[in-house]
């Protein structure tokens, strides 16, 4: 688990918001200077509220969005570096890095059959020797994700949400990748179907030695599937740690509130516990607050938090957080 598969340094992604004669061009700072390492064979979970930039980060890492600044290294080779002006051709890397999207019905072409959808990836990377081989690979892939092999000739709308998501997973697996970004893969599914997909992702990881970046807003699911969890707030990583350690001993005030807000399916426990309630809403990423970005909602904010941005530091083995209060102890 110690080999680093993917390393990002100070990765940022800004989206321009159109200005005009009267309005200056502004930028949404969706991801702001995030540094991370993802180890081989692990699942790194990424949680945060909507608009915190977790999806943008996932897509920027595999360069579906071109980064604004920073450096991405895959297996030791840089695939993007803004300082050294490196931006390699991604096609060979697409074989290694894949993504599963949130809304399966929106991410499958309605006019292609399931076989064509899965086969397209094989064609692009020229992975099949002939027609027969292609057919067999498609069947094997569908079988692997628990779909009937006769389903290859059907269209996406003929499937339920859970089955559509399985098609999305089969498509990602087609090129035999090493790393998969799972972007809210179960959020659109029913509760009883969610666990089926979670278990399948776990099995696939075990059998194929996959590495996952698992993005979701449901922290209970992320805790279940991940080895480590990163918590994001307004485009920045505020806490990173081993998943059980982070959930049982969160040290950043934002993580603490986030965890205390999760409803527990246990009437007595959930009624007995004390909640930390946050005031107000997330500030706009167009104009994020200076200093620590959380200071406008943080119950413990001090002068220093308003003025100075805290850096991500290690406070326990493998447990990082960005907060001034922790430095003071």
């Amino acid at each position: 688990m110690s080999d680093i598969l993917l390393k990002i340094e100070n990765l940022s992604k800004y989206f321009p918001v159109k200005g005009n004669l009267f309005r200056k061009k502004k930028y949404v700072q969706a991801v702001e200077s995030v540094s991370l390492e993802i180890f081989k064979g692990e699942t790194l979970g990424l949680v945060g509220e909507s608009g915190c930039g977790k999806t943008t980060l996932g897509r920027t890492i595999i360069r579906l969005y071109e980064p604004t600044a920073g450096r991405i290294e895959y297996d030791g080779t840089p695939i993007y570096d803004s300082a050294q002006k490196i931006a390699v051709d991604m096609l060979p890397y697409r074989r290694k890095m894949q993504i599963i999207f949130q809304d399966p019905s929106a991410s499958l072409d309605p006019r292609m059959t399931v076989g064509e959808i899965v086969g397209e990836a094989l064609d692009i990377h020229k992975l099949c020797s002939g027609k027969k081989d292609r057919q067999e690979r498609i069947k094997a892939l569908l079988d692997e994700v628990g779909l009937n092999t006769e389903h290859a000739n059907r269209f996406p709308h003929e499937f339920s949400g859970g089955q559509q998501q399985r098609v999305g997973i089969a498509r990602a697996l087609a090129v035999e990748p090493e790393f998969i970004v799972c972007d809210e893969p179960i959020s659109a599914l029913d509760v009883s179907i969610q666990s089926q997909v979670v278990n399948m992702l776990e099995d696939l990881q075990r059998d194929k030695g996959l590495t996952y970046l698992f993005i979701a807003h449901d922290i209970s699911v992320v805790r279940h599937i991940s080895n480590r969890i990163g918590v994001m707030y307004l485009g920045q990583l505020v806490e990173l740690g081993e998943s059980y350690e982070l959930c049982s001993h969160p040290i950043h005030p934002y993580t603490q509130t986030l965890l205390s807000a999760v409803p527990l399916p246990d009437p007595e426990k959930s009624r007995a516990r004390q909640r930390i309630l946050l005031e107000g809403d997330i500030p706009s990423p167009l104009d994020p607050p200076g200093g620590c970005r959380f200071h406008t909602r943080c119950p413990y904010a001090t002068e220093r938090c308003r003025a100075e941005q805290p850096a991500l530091k290690e406070y326990g083995p493998g447990h990082y957080a960005a907060c001034h209060l922790l430095e003071q102890g």
Binding site: E49, S50, S160, G162, Q163, D190, V191, S192, I193, Q194, S195, Q196, V198, N199, E202, H217, I219, S220, V221, R223, H224, Y244, C247, T257, L258, L259, S260, A261, V262, P263, L264, P265, D266, P267, E268, K269, S270, R271, R275, L277, L278, D281, I282
Partner: protein, 335 residues
Amino acid sequence: MDEKKTLLEVKDLKVSFFTPAGEVKAVDGISYSLGYNEVMGIVGESGSGKSVEAYSIIGLLQSPGKVTGGSITFEGEDVLSFSEEQMRQFRGNRVSMIFQNPMTCLNPVYTIGNQLVEALLCHDKGYSKDQARARAIEMLELVGINNAEKRIDQYPHEFSGGMRQRAMIAMALICEPKLLIADEPTTALDVTIQAQILELMKALQKKENTSIIFITHNLGVVAEICDRVSVMYAGRIVEQGPVNDIFYDPQHPYTKGLLASTPRLDEEGRERLVPIEGTPIDLLNPPQGCSFGPRCKDCMKICLRQKPPFVQVGDGHISACWLHFREQPGKGDKT
């Protein structure tokens, strides 16, 4: 707390949608009663009929949906026999509803204040315009909107998601209804905002003594806010009981399955989830027997032939499953 008296009584309610492909029995004979000051949770997956059932109480069922049988009694009155005009007076005044997505339920071209005042004036509560405005401001403050005097003249798009849901709650409660139907009110919100809204609803429920029907698919939310829970599957209630019984001593295989397949933040080890296999049934061709039968791991022959009746498994706790007949009735058995 007087829970003996019944506010709402639903008996054998059946709702069908008549589609070109055939009749879809969205709600297939459900019964329950709700006391004053009680919070009842209705849990189920999408397509289980939990929303349709609520829409029929408040007369918002849309064509081709039709109530095909059963009765709904609210404080002794037969809701289904109401005329259009009576329904209009009933809705919003004695029963009101909050919806999943506040943005689609607020009118974007009217100010929040306009919409709140409209609710009061429509129901002829004897308020003058100024009084109605004052009452609207009071309600906005009650639901925790800061600076309500200024906020009242803003439009929905100027509110954030959480604030819109607060405004929706203010609007629903402004006429002091006896019953509030909340249809997935926190599903579209982030967890920290969800926590705020749940706290607010709990506080308001105590203060205003409103009964709530809380429809959701999130078991955690149910555990937090409800007194009693009905679990729905494919248009039927499969289990119903006090919240503690449902969570600590579930009897129906579907309820057990739901609980086992939900990852929990407080679980100790990293246990593998136990999913419910299969997919939800096709309501156009429902199975002859128990609708959960095809997905149930303890399915017996009789389950595929005949629908199971309710069995009393505890105090106020009922479950519809043939397994209760295999063992001694009334005793929870481990499967």
